[in-house]
Symmetry: C2
Subunit: 445 residues, 2 copies
């Protein structure tokens, strides 16, 4: 069955390659009553949509439907009538409520059979965890005739690929820590194999430049785009620019993408913190610290530990992170960092002077090369005409040279704090880069 | 037009009230290419779904569609054929791309006209911000004939309610900070007015008990439920139980809900941290500290500031929060908290002993009544057979009495850290409550 199907795929691929230029469409169906009830946010759909866009599939519809055979049947039939690829996530669990696989098989007129390798994998999964298998778990080893079975090393429900009259139905488990690795490792290569040529994309990540400015700066490129295309993705405090090309092979696609990435790097200069998909802004900062043998310390008031928490989310941070202080009260600013009471009274806790003193204090008491102080009004209370909610001062000290940035953020308390952290990371990068471009070699220490 | 429509609504309400027991269905359509591309996560749908469930509407389908007239028309027609209420969000902006209102009006056979109060509101909005109005903004003041216009104090696109053959189409702007207040203030009262009687719900929030245990403990109640219903919502480290009743008036509905809330409080005892919708676990902890005139300090290793950040997200925390330390390295544990090198060598940084020393150190150096120390292996590296990834020790010191909890979490680095923070908050509550139940009055200080 498997071989037969794989052969069909190859035939299909050949036909598709001949019809060069056709863009496949994908429809994303999320199955789960917990999404319909608003119990959880549908992050799977966003993840799948972004990945599908990156490999050149067009998505026109997404749906959410509960664990209900009749309604799922209707949704799936509609999707099959209008899309080349249908992604289904959720409803592959062991209970009677989970009926995505059974329903999809019925819609495509397939019987289920016991797939021995999946049965063995499930047994193995439970054995490793030292837990008992319940009888209903074997339901997860039943798969539709003529399907491709996809391993799930992170759970018990295998993934399923079915092909029917030129349509492709992909079933994946709902938990993101099972779905994401399965999609990356098995489904993306499969979907790439269906398309004429290949899709290659690279992301240029920019920080310290506002979204609208970034868009204005690439407007001409986007207006004239055909292959590659350029898409902008705004995140808190940063913007990602994805350059995507379609070509006969990877070499050719890379050749198409390269000049655009170079052009973007030229336009945004030092604001480009990475061109690697997996590198986050905090990782870029940590890497910069590691490369320069610098240690880091933080002092936070309104952000209350969020900056340290983001830095510490980078594995391997222990080599550079020294100490973090959370000095929410004026008293702790004085006690822990030795900031003078007269200064606090003169300038107020939310001031460029105090941000600077916080960064200095962290260097002195926390003994780190690069230190950051953040103080601001996160709201909803505590704002004034002179110092409104959203006013934040960030100071970054690199080996004694201190930069202070004044920011005005909007949104609720959490939004203001998250924006502050992103700005602090941008300022850290800028300050370290400026330090090394200004200080002549040997003068540093 | 408006009055005529309002009259229709009242007629409808009367008819519906007569047909007691009918549950209205709702379909949620999110319009936006940025959702189809996975550029943003569809939090609006989750928000609307949860709110609709809370007021007793049944949701069977959710859809996402781009800013495309043909496809939106198809989706809207399908939704109108199967749901009583259709919620549309997004696509109400001033550009040519925004066509939700125009499309919905066309589907329902209505012309648009210039709504003078909306025009005045838009002009006012721009005047207040001191920015120029561009000509295309007036498009947002055009509304369908015979609709109810809903004010939008947070943006320029008004909300729209249309009624057609017993169906209700509600249009809302996409930005959450416009959609949420509009839904709470105008759309929920409208939807409530359509239903026979009223819906009242109360949430019992439980911490420190696992999801499956909570479900087992209320299984009998859920099995026998009719009115009120009980639904469980699992969050990181906590479970929310929502009791929802439908009755002729609020008094009667509250009477139906009350014994169930009492029963749940009895079953979960001290694990119930609130029965108020807006109270978070961190807010409950801060309130408990305030009520007992206690101050708080934190020392974090693997969580790196996340616990402090969550506490500091509660407005008004400045009265209780003293100092937070982030001691990621052993050196900082020694320097800042005076933990002996011999202890760190003997037990290792991830041990109940060191968690205890961290909490003690925070009390001594940070001068707080309640202190928490967290140390653990967040992964992906750093785990061993003896101390695997996910092992976390949390110590809570209340005026010298210290509790230590050993936890085993699964998931990625971020998940393990978030679970640690939730467990720390639960432990803080438990420890403070236990302290006051054990210590006789007057003995405390």
């Amino acid at each position: 069955m498997r071989l037969h199907t794989a052969n069909d795929v190859r035939m299909k691929v050949r036909r598709l390659r001949e019809g060069h230029g056709y863009i496949m469409t994908v429809e994303i169906i999320s199955v789960g009553t917990e999404i319909l009830l608003g119990n959880i946010v549908n992050t799977n759909a966003a993840y799948l949509a972004e990945k599908c866009a990156a490999i050149g599939l067009s998505c026109y519809y997404q749906e959410v439907v509960g664990d209900n055979e009749e309604r799922l049947t209707g949704i799936l039939q509609t999707a099959l009538a209008r899309a080349d690829v249908v992604l289904l996530s959720g409803g592959l669990g062991p209970t009677q409520d989970d009926l995505t696989k059974e329903t999809a098989a019925k819609v495509l007129g397939r019987e289920l059979y016991l797939h021995e390798p999946s049965k063995a994998a499930i047994a193995d999964f439970f054995r490793k965890r030292g837990t008992e298998i319940t009888e209903n778990n074997w339901k997860q080893a039943m798969v539709p005739e003529g399907c491709i079975v996809v391993d799930n090393p992170n759970g018990t429900a295998p993934g399923i690929i079915m092909e029917d009259k030129g349509r492709h139905v992909l079933l994946m488990p709902g938990p993101p820590d099972e779905l994401i690795p399965m999609f990356e490792n098995a489904m993306i290569p499969y979907l790439n194999s269906l398309q004429p040529g290949i899709i290659y994309s690279q992301t240029v990540k920019v920080c310290g430049v506002g979204e609208s400015k970034v868009e204005a700066m690439v407007e001409d490129l986007i207006r004239e785009q055909s292959n590659p295309t350029i898409a902008t993705y705004a995140k808190t405090g940063e913007v990602h620019l994805r350059v995507t090309a379609r070509a006969a092979d990877e070499k050719e696609a890379k050749k198409l993408v390269k000049p655009y990435v170079k052009e973007l790097k030229g336009r945004f200069g030092n604001h480009v913190y990475t061109t690697q998909e997996e590198v986050t802004l905090e990782k870029a900062v940590i890497d910069l610290l590691l490369a320069n043998h610098l240690t880091v310390g933080t002092v936070e008031s309104c952000t209350g530990g969020l900056l340290a928490a983001r830095l510490i989310n980078v594995p391997g941070v222990s080599e550079v992170f020294k100490t973090g202080y959370i000095t929410y009260s004026n008293k702790s600013k004085r006690k822990l960092l030795g900031i003078k009471k007269t200064m606090l009274e003169k300038y107020g806790a939310v001031s460029p002077q105090i941000a600077k003193e916080m960064a200095k204090g962290a260097a002195l008491f926390g003994k780190a090369d690069v230190t950051v102080g953040i103080t601001g009004v996160a709201g909803p209370d505590g704002g004034s005409e002179e110092k409104p909610v959203g006013l934040v001062y960030i100071a970054c000290n690199v080996c004694g040279r201190i930069n202070v940035k004044e920011c005005h953020f909007s949104g609720n308390r959490m939004k203001i704090r998250e924006s502050s952290v992103s700005s602090a990371l941008s300022l850290m990068r800028e300050s370290i880069l400026a330090y090394y471009s200004e200080v002549t070699f040997g003068k540093k220490s």
